[in-house]
């Protein structure tokens, strides 16, 4: 895993981050639900929580779909090519390319390879949230933070590399829900006293 130069992160103590969607996009609940799932994946492994707010300009993280030149110096290029980009903390801007064919359910098993221009929304959202939190790109192909995503591909599970990277910045989730506790110096021994 990697970080942006200078290792920027959200300030210590700020563990509750709000996010909002660009009102002009008029996104459906289904689209917003995909982002909620994507945020949850990072929340599960860190002390961070993410809450949607309607106040776009005041939100910590601002999600918008744009086409072509949208004023940040990084124009989108139509279908395929670049899919999205996001800024390092604490900027909070997360931009998706509005020209892509975004698929919400991520089930490509029935595609038979015929729809080569379809992109899984959640896969890209999880990756871009990684940037929003301070992660750069990884050379590990299985990592969420690997830079490329072929069409008709779903990759939404955080890899160990992603988890180690984000926990290097923020630490682990102190209250993991239904998951095994993370190893800490105080719990690295089992009940018999032998080291794990």
């Amino acid at each position: 895993y990697s970080f942006f130069p200078g290792r920027p992160r959200w300030p210590p103590g700020k563990t509750e981050l709000s996010y909002a969607f660009l009102p002009e996009n008029q996104l459906s609940d289904a689209v917003k639900g995909v982002f909620a799932r994507a945020f949850e994946r990072w929340s599960e492994v860190t002390p961070l929580t993410f809450t949607e707010t309607a106040a776009f300009t005041d939100a910590d993280i601002r999600v918008g779909f744009f086409r072509g030149d949208h004023g940040d110096g990084e124009p989108f290029d139509g279908a395929l090519g670049t899919l999205a980009h996001a800024f390092s903390p604490p900027n909070g801007r997360l931009h998706m390319d509005g020209d892509e064919n975004w698929v919400l359910d991520g089930d490509f098993l029935s595609s038979a390879g015929s729809v080569l221009s379809a992109t899984d929304l959640e896969s890209v959202a999880v990756h871009e949230i990684g940037h929003i939190l301070g992660l750069g790109h990884s050379s590990l192909e299985g990592a969420i933070m690997y830079p490329t995503l072929p069409p008709v591909t779903r990759k939404v599970e955080l890899a160990d590399d992603d988890i180690q990277g984000v926990q290097d910045l923020y630490g682990s989730n102190p209250n993991p829900n239904g998951t095994l506790p993370m190893l800490t110096p105080s719990n690295q021994k089992d009940t018999s006293g032998s080291a794990i």
Partner: protein, 127 residues
């Protein structure tokens, strides 16, 4: 364009995968010393993602020069490809895959594989 599932994408929007950077396919086999029409576009691609220094401007030649060879080699290292410095088939296949718009190399330093490689070797020329 949002679709609940892949079967709901209308036939009029069904692509053949030739959008994006598929044009780079024609550079397959190119190597240092050649002049190939349109190769400057590939330099723009590498510059966009940090493999060529932004301070060099965007008016590139179509020459497959040392600048491009270095960019290709660093890219290959970052993506676990054999660092030949040539536009071989595995490299071209990877170049055309859709990707995140964020750069792999920021301010000349790569935290991906190439950066780690440079830290342990003098074999890869620095930008």
């Amino acid at each position: 364009h949002f679709f609940p599932n892949i079967s709901s994408i209308p036939r009029t929007l069904v692509g053949n995968g030739s959008a994006g950077w598929d044009v780079f396919q024609k550079y397959l086999g190119s190597h240092t010393g050649q002049n190939v029409a349109g190769l400057s576009k590939l330099k723009n691609y590498f510059q966009r993602f940090g493999y060529i220094n932004a301070s060099l401007g965007s008016n590139f030649t179509d020459d497959f020069d040392d600048l491009l060879e270095s960019a290709v080699k660093t890219y290959q290292l970052n993506f676990n490809l054999k660092p030949t410095g040539e536009l071989d088939a595995p490299t071209i296949r990877h170049l055309v895959i859709p990707r995140c718009g964020n750069a792999d190399i920021v301010n000349g330093s790569s935290a991906m594989n190439a950066g780690k490689f440079k830290a342990n070797s003098t074999a890869v020329p620095a930008h």
